[in-house]
């Protein structure tokens, strides 16, 4: 199958600053991909190039097999919901109606349900909405568009935990019934970890990690116990993080942990605690930096 998004050797440089540095990746059709990374890692720049809002300095990006920039046929097949998106100062109802004209697979039914879910006041002007309400407008449009490619860039500014959970639940239910390609850029990794089939992590404009979520889970562990036993267990192997108090130590080590390694840990009376995806990403980027310092 042709990938929905294909990025090859992409770089984006601004005067004196490299936002994206020779990255390559693909996004498969009908999957949910998490685009993760710290602020400034290049996530938004990548999404802006994918949606034709910005041009690459080098390399190529194709969406549905074609270059997206100034390509109406491609752009109509995608919806992009940005962080703190600005809208013309319409009333909420008008903004949503205008959006409905643009997207060929728009679901009025879903839009109505989401408007009720988020308790959006249809007659209020967008300029007078709270930050969270403005984010909710973006979420309504992004989901109701049912676009073949749906891109969310940190779409939840000002939304509380309950409203964010509502967003994830609605996204999941509608995606299950109407599969499409979804890219979710976020730094709230643990909130979305279970929704993602695939994870791409950017770090300083480069791809730090690009793997199916299933393969990442459980690969790294925190090993803790008596310091001497911990040292014996990790001897010679890579360690991402070390911590000690009195005679106890705790280290983070990348896996994989096969049955033999687990048995060895048990024999040494060590406890093994798997890292969450969020912790894993923190260590995967921080760990690389630490090794550089050592070298």
């Amino acid at each position: 199958m042709t990938p929905t998004i294909s990025v090859a050797g992409l770089s984006r440089r601004y005067r004196g600053h490299t936002a994206l540095d020779n990255i390559s990746l693909t996004v498969e059709p009908d999957t949910v991909t998490g685009l993760l990374g710290r602020n400034g890692a290049g996530k938004t720049t990548l999404l802006r190039i994918i949606t034709g809002l910005e041009f690459p300095t080098d390399g190529e990006v194709t969406v549905f097999g074609a270059v997206p920039a100034e390509n109406e046929a491609v752009l109509r097949r995608m919806v992009f919901v940005r962080e703190e998106q600005s809208y013309p100062d319409f009333r909420v109802g008008t903004a949503i109606r205008v959006a409905s004209w643009f997207y060929p697979y728009w679901s009025a039914e879903l839009a109505e349900q989401l408007i009720a879910d988020f308790e959006l006041p249809l007659s209020r002007r967008i300029g007078r909405l709270s930050r969270g309400m403005r984010s909710a407008v973006g979420i309504v449009i992004g989901l109701a568009a049912r676009a073949e490619l749906t891109l969310f860039d940190e779409p939840y500014a000002g939304l509380d935990a309950v409203a964010r959970q509502l967003f994830y639940d609605r996204l999941l239910t509608d995606y299950a019934e109407h599969p499409r390609t979804i890219v979710l850029s976020t730094h709230l990794v643990d909130e979305v970890a279970n929704l993602l089939e695939h994870v791409v992590m950017l770090d300083h404009g480069r791809v730090a990690l690009d793997a199916p979520t299933d393969e990442i889970r459980g690969t790294a562990m925190t090993v803790s116990g008596p310091a001497t036993a911990v040292e014996e267990f990790v001897a010679g192997g890579p360690v991402w993080h070390r911590q000690a108090v009195a005679s106890r130590a705790s280290v983070v080590v990348p896996g994989p942990f096969d049955a033999a390694a687990q048995a060895r840990a048990r024999a040494l009376h060590l406890s093994l605690e798997p890292l969450s995806l969020q912790q894993l990403l923190v260590h995967a980027s921080g760990g690389a930096a630490q090794e550089k310092v050592c070298a």
Binding site: T173, Y175, A176, N194, L195, R217, R266, L272, P274, L277
Partner: protein, 132 residues
């Protein structure tokens, strides 16, 4: 919220929880199991992940697909799961228990009598519950 842990792949956990329900008799042979989308919504996971869990049980012969209707618990599924789990019992439960007993200086005879005692207590507690 149903609990899923961090270390094991999600689809393995989904398969494990369905298998638990079959072993416990919550899902009897011949009944329909929840669809991929129902599982996805319940556990708040990606539907592809739920599908992977179901397919794992289909490959093991625990579930069977009936075209156009859904997934069902296969005949003999419970016996098959019980047999597989009995095989793993020594490794998963007895091994760690013996290791901890050794660590605490509990000798084998004491360990065996502890097991018998606990088992007897559980049995009488269960009977007490039933007669009430």
């Amino acid at each position: 919220m149903p609990s899923l842990d961090e270390g094991t792949p999600l689809f393995v956990q989904i398969a494990g929880q369905l298998a638990d329900d079959i072993v416990d008799g919550q899902l009897t042979e011949g009944t329909r199991v929840p669809s991929t989308n129902e599982l996805a919504a319940f556990y708040r996971i990606n539907p592809a992940t739920a599908a992977k869990g179901i397919n794992m049980l289909v490959d093991e012969g625990v579930l069977e697909k009936r075209r156009g209707i859904g997934m069902f618990v296969a005949d003999g599924a419970r016996e098959q799961l019980l047999a597989a789990r009995r095989k793993l019992f020594a490794e998963q439960y007895v091994g760690p228990m013996v290791a901890e007993a050794n660590r605490l200086g509990i000798d084998n005879d004491t360990l065996v009598s502890l097991v018998k005692e606990t088992s007897a207590n559980n049995a009488s507690a269960n009977n007490g519950g039933k007669t009430r």
